[in-house]
């Protein structure tokens, strides 16, 4: 992309400011099936997300080509039809940016024969570890990406990241019952590629669901494991988005500096944590910083992008993410760990349910009201320990109520695939429907 040519042509045609975000990513992945490589892929692509201001309105184009004439024309065409009241802004730059090195050179130089060999071993281990295993699928992938922002004010920002993932899925059968399970690792440290742990996770995940029972459909004390908590938390924290507040889609309207969650909860946005999801600047080029969103249950800040910050007369908070339309998002959303191990939470629950994960959020969750009705993977807690799995079940309730009825917070933090650092929670009274 000839940036000079693009910026000067844009200026000539009346675009008062222009920002280009270049995203490059390259990936190699391998899948195995029945002891052979069933699938191998090598991919790379470069995409430009370009936003320009024409007559105080934004026009946008996403493109894989660098045809500057086409780009400038489309931006103007798009800007011309915008009617919304707000004044568009392209960021001139933050005073300073925290530099964090989260690109792993060790990973870049990793001889791929090593993880491929481990992948074959993983497949073997999964097949042999438990006689109930009837099918196994494993996949490894290595990704590196680069994100660069350049704008007509001379701002130049760049960051790189790389990571690998390994997924294992197993299908187990016992008598006539079939269940599936998953294990994975996502990391940028080759030393964390532990095939025994992945295999154990997948097999336990699958086999623990066999032999399910049912319970009466009513409300129970519930221990939500980290994955289920993360799913619900993302909706809850979505209400802290200034965009939702300004569009009347949030339950946190007018609640800044008031109690919105249990006193036991402190939830932070941690973009500068040194991990694969870290970001030094948001997608508008605003420097990011670590911040408490909820401190001991009190809402301390809304999350802003440039537009919402301008509307509220405050500073942007580095939460502007998106490519052609900038929305609001968190990075490394984290719950401060509490005092209790998972076993201690189960003991505290006494009798109730242990919910490992929930699915169907895209359909069963009302993001605006927080009402949910979701399929769940759950187990019975009897006298403080997990006694048996539950057959297909749903859990229902409201996200606001969940985070306001926390009885205890777990101490083990786990990073989810979606970039949330979550812990298990004990909550009071969750509606369960069991077959």
């Amino acid at each position: 992309m000839n940036y000079n040519k693009l910026f000067s042509l844009a200026k000539e045609k009346g675009i008062s400011a222009l920002s280009v975000t270049k995203s490059y990513s390259a990936e190699k992945s391998i899948s195995l099936f029945h002891g052979e490589i069933s699938n191998y892929s090598i991919n790379s692509s470069t995409n430009y997300a370009i936003r320009g201001i024409y007559n105080n309105k934004f026009g946008a184009i996403g493109t894989e080509s660098d045809d500057v004439n086409f780009i400038v024309d489309e931006i103007i065409k798009n800007a011309k039809v915008i009617e919304k009241d707000e004044v568009a802004e392209i960021f001139k730059g933050s005073k300073s940016y925290k530099k964090r090195n989260y690109y792993s050179n060790e990973l870049e130089n990793w001889d791929l024969n090593e993880p491929i060999k481990k992948l074959f071993e993983l497949e073997k281990v999964l097949k042999q570890k438990d006689p109930r295993v009837i099918e196994v699928e494993v996949e490894f992938s290595l990704t590196s990406s680069e994100n660069e922002i350049r704008n007509s004010y001379g701002l130049k920002l760049k960051e790189k990241s790389n990571y690998y993932t390994c997924f294992a899925s197993v299908v187990v059968k016992d008598k006539e019952e079939i269940k599936d399970g998953f294990g994975y690792v996502i990391s940028n440290d080759p030393k964390e590629f532990d095939i025994n742990k992945i295999a154990d996770d997948a097999i336990i995940d699958a086999t623990s669901k066999l032999g399910g029972t049912t319970i009466n459909s009513k409300k129970y004390n519930a221990v939500l494991d980290y994955k289920a908590v993360a799913s619900l938390l993302n909706v809850f924290i979505g209400w802290a988005s200034a965009d939702s507040v300004q569009k009347n889609s949030s339950r946190f309207i007018g609640k800044l500096n008031t109690q919105v969650a249990s006193k036991k909860l402190t939830i932070s946005d941690m973009p500068l944590l040194k991990n694969i999801f870290a970001r030094g600047f948001d997608d508008e080029g605003v420097a990011t910083y670590n911040k408490k969103i909820i401190d001991k249950g009190v809402l301390k800040t809304f999350l802003h992008n440039l537009e919402t910050a301008k509307k509220d007369g405050v500073q942007p908070t580095g939460n502007g993410f998106g490519s052609l339309n900038i929305g609001i998002d968190t990075t490394n959303l984290s719950i401060k760990p509490g005092k209790y191990s998972l076993d201690e939470l189960l003991a505290k629950a006494g009798n109730g349910v242990y919910i490992k994960s929930v699915t169907g959020l895209h359909a069963g969750m009302n993001g605006r009201s927080g009402n949910f009705s979701l399929q769940a993977v759950g187990f019975v807690i009897e006298n403080g320990i997990v006694s048996s799995p539950l057959k297909m079940m749903t859990v229902a309730g409201n996200v606001y109520d969940v985070f306001n009825s926390v009885a205890a917070v777990g101490k083990t933090q786990t990073l989810t695939l979606g970039g949330t650092i979550s812990v298990p929670l004990l909550i009071k009274k969750l509606s369960v429907t069991s077959e």
């Binding site: 090598i42 359909a363 009705s373």
Partner: protein, 465 residues
């Protein structure tokens, strides 16, 4: 997008190490999205994407790679890098490529891309206005239109070359109703492989907008749905997402061929109640999920999946078909060049039955009538699925009674299909997007109104009385 001679060179570079099949899939795509929020144009954006995906097959192994750089150097390098996965001698050489004529099943009158944005905005504002004026409790309205134009070119080592041009558009009408701390939404999203004429004259945007507003207001005053096991009547149209999740996905060769589906090895077996017959048809003119050719160049087909409850067909792509000893039947699809294609659905529906909607309701003593569904998910290995209801009512003594909200339906595909005990004659299809291994693709789901004798319904409203 590339010359036949370059295509031959790239294919042969890929075949150097013993692959038995090579394919270059090229795509040039343009999309445009406009949205109106609370009566004002809020966003307008364009995307342009062009690239190539190269696939090599050798027995039961596949390798795939893509690049957005279509230069000769880049394509040859990609083919060469991919060929390194095999160690063998060349068994196939491409000498020439024959262009196969592709018949266009989906004609349009006025391309959305040749329509001035102002005309499209005028139609969207009509819908937006109807929603916001329906009731003072409707506080947010959003009307948008997304259009996609794709030029596809496929070259393969069978000596074939295909070219196809496709356009589609979909309007989104949604609104949010708020009363106190109750927030509910309504939504309609009609789409087709047609041009502007579809939105301007062929569908009634104002009626669809009014329906979205009606649903939002209805749910504001709805009671929380009771939970438990009960008969469930599923409305026509988007109710077909049940079949899509519970049965359609498990019938795709990608899962079936690897014995990872509950319906693997089920041809000739009774997998549904004897009144159920179902079809996947990629040839329906102008339908949202249709294609002229599939994404590996095979002509699309009308595939009978279930006949009188017996499994008679699968959705098969050539590669997964190898494991099954069956040829691809026009069901090979991918989101774009960045995805390796695999067997997917197109327009999937349960065929008409012999009852009427009134007969089904009258025959139900106590149960749920889910008029429309929100969306769902399935695990093909276990057949377990879930989906939410966006508009539902309790049926008591053969009559439709109070509206309920927050219902989630769960079950196992193979069990539910056997429990369909009444099917009406009001078949309709609705549009949606389906996500799976080869990406997000446009599909239609459909069915007549039908009843499932017993299903688990999740909700916070206590026991069903």
């Amino acid at each position: 997008m590339i010359s036949k001679s370059l295509a031959i060179e790239v294919l042969n570079a890929g075949l150097a190490t013993g692959a038995d099949f090579a394919e270059i899939y090229l795509e040039d795509t343009k999309t445009s999205n406009i949205s109106v929020e609370n009566g004002k144009v809020e966003t307008s954006a364009t995307t342009v994407s062009k690239g190539a995906g190269i696939r090599l097959l050798k027995d039961l192994r596949s390798v795939y790679g893509y690049t957005s750089d279509l230069s000769k150097k880049s394509l040859l390098k990609l083919a060469f890098d991919l060929s390194k996965s095999f160690q063998g001698d060349r068994i196939l050489t491409v000498e020439k490529l024959k262009t196969i004529k592709v018949k266009n099943l989906s004609n349009y009158e006025r391309s959305l891309f040749a329509t001035p944005k102002e005309d499209i905005i005028a139609v969207l504002k009509k819908g937006d206005k109807v929603m916001s004026e329906y009731d003072k409790r409707i506080l947010r309205t959003n009307s948008g239109l997304g259009m996609v134009m794709k030029d596809v070119e496929i070259f393969n080592s069978n000596g074939k070359h295909f070219k196809d041009h496709k356009e589609r558009g979909r309007a989104f009408l949604s609104c949010v109703a708020i009363e106190g701390d109750k927030v509910e939404s309504g939504y309609n999203a009609p789409g087709a492989r047609r041009g502007f004429e579809f939105f301007d004259t062929q569908i009634d945007i104002e009626a669809l907008a009014k329906d979205a507003a009606r649903a939002a207001i209805l749910m504001l005053t709805a009671k929380d749905c009771p939970s438990g096991k009960m008969p469930v009547i599923l409305g026509n149209g988007f109710g077909g997402v049940l079949f899509h999740e519970a049965c359609g996905h498990p019938l795709e060769a990608s899962a079936v061929s690897k014995k990872l589906s509950v319906f693997s090895d089920s041809l000739g077996k009774q997998i549904a109640s004897p009144i159920v017959s179902a079809v996947d048809d990629g040839t329906i003119p102008n339908a949202w999920g249709s294609n002229n050719i599939d994404d590996e160049g095979n002509p699309t087909q009308k595939n009978q999946l279930i006949k009188d409850g017996i499994c008679v067909g699968y959705l098969i792509d050539d590669f997964n078909g190898r494991r099954m000893g069956m040829k691809g039947n026009g069901a090979c699809r991918r989101q774009n060049y960045k995805y390796e294609p695999t067997s997917r659905m197109s327009n999937t529906y349960i065929e008409n039955g012999t009852s009427t909607v009134e007969e089904i309701i009258k025959a139900t003593k106590l149960g749920l009538y889910a008029v429309s569904l929100g969306g769902g998910q399935v695990s093909p290995a276990t057949g377990e699925f879930n989906f939410s209801c966006s508009e539902a009512y309790i049926v008591r003594d053969g009559k439709v009674c109070e509206a309920v909200r927050g219902a989630t339906l769960i079950g196992k595909g193979e069990e539910i299909l056997l429990k369909i005990d009444m099917i009406a004659n009001d078949l309709e299809r609705s549009q949606g997007m389906c996500g799976a291994a080869s990406g997000s693709i446009p599909v239609e789901v459909g069915q007549p109104t039908l009843r499932i004798s017993e299903m688990t319904v999740g909700g916070t409203g206590g026991e069903l009385k």
